[in-house]
Symmetry: C2
Subunit: 219 residues, 2 copies
């Protein structure tokens, strides 16, 4: 584990095993990519994919965040799992699972790896989708930048469970506990231009099963 | 609008009005704070609060991200609203609302503003909670750093609606549309050490009303 990704605050929440890190990454639909542009930090949300030890990100060929990531990148993924309500203001926290990956990204230039990287990005969010749709044309490939970030320097941080008010600091009558949070999927909204008689793609039901669904489709 | 926060890609998704920006910020429970540490980007998730034109963030007095933010910070907030499934791989996207705030943070040293900043952080996530719980002690205040980031340089980016496959690029039989996503709250989990007969705090039901709830508490 590199000291550059060592968890310093609340080190009891640190996880350095790749199984935990991969699970957090693979459940995430987006990451936040941090780069340095003209000496100042810039953080943008974006999709990503993973193949083994490598994260793939893509964007327009002119994308300056992807270009800056070649000089230094931080990819952070966060799942918010709950609001932790303690009996003191300072004891409040959140339950979460996060991963931080640091390093210098690599521009992916090999055509086979570029295509595999793009495929990984689509498949990461919607498994099975790549083969249901039209593949990227040569022109689309040319307009797209793909970068790779190694998982060599990464760590996870996980908080779960109730608030941790010391026994001596529990004023009577104050409710404490956790309000759990999670992401859910609503009913798919077909494209208004979708023709008659087109069945929902298998990837749609597959992606919906990744999340609890709202029974009244009230999303 | 500063060119440093101008939306360059998909400028049709840019929003620069503070009403839109404030609404996105105020709905968010966490942000991703980007800083530069030893020349390299570092992005960490954290809570935050807003009072008018100022974001407040807090952490341990020794927190190096907060210290680095005084030299340059980017606070990014993202709501993921849906998976946009196009008929081509390259047409895939996500519906989202994001805000980017850039600038140099200010260390908050005035005791009154420090307390107001901490209050804003707690109240941002759980409105009404500050007055239900024990306030920070002098020792807790001393152990806590509070920084402020002005909303002078900020922009929002919003994508909504269906995929945008050109009419000439709609192979027959391919399902296209949006799978909506959103955050929901589950049933509150009382602290295992909570005594008998302690009613749920008003802030709990208030915070749950911010989200759709899962009827089977299946969170």
């Amino acid at each position: 584990m590199s000291p550059r990704v060592e968890v310093r605050r609340h080190s009891e929440r640190a996880r350095y095993d790749r199984a935990t890190i991969d699970a957090i990454l693979d459940e995430a639909l987006i990451c936040h990519l941090g780069v340095v542009v003209e000496g100042e930090p810039l953080v943008l949300p974006t999709g990503f994919g993973r193949i083994g030890d490598t994260l793939y990100l893509h964007g327009a060929a002119s994308n300056r965040s992807l270009a800056a990531a070649l000089e230094g990148a931080c990819v952070t993924v966060t799942h918010l799992d709950g609001l932790v309500m303690a009996r003191s203001a300072s004891g409040h926290s959140m339950n979460y699972r996060s991963v931080v990956v640091r390093g210098r990204a690599r521009a992916v230039t090999d055509p086979v790896e570029r295509r595999a990287g793009l495929r990984a990005v689509v498949e990461h969010a919607i498994p099975g989708r790549w083969d249901e749709v039209r593949q990227p044309s040569p022109r689309e490939m040319e307009a797209t930048a793909v970068i790779a970030l190694d998982l060599a320097e990464c760590s996870a941080k996980v908080r779960s469970g109730p608030p941790l008010d010391p026994a001596a600091d529990r004023p009577p009558g104050v409710w404490a506990g956790v309000v759990p949070l999670r992401m859910v999927a609503g009913a798919p909204l077909p494209d208004p231009d979708l023709g008659e008689g087109i069945d929902e793609a298998p990837s749609v039901s597959r992606v919906r099963r990744r999340f609890p669904t709202l029974p009244d489709d009230g999303v």
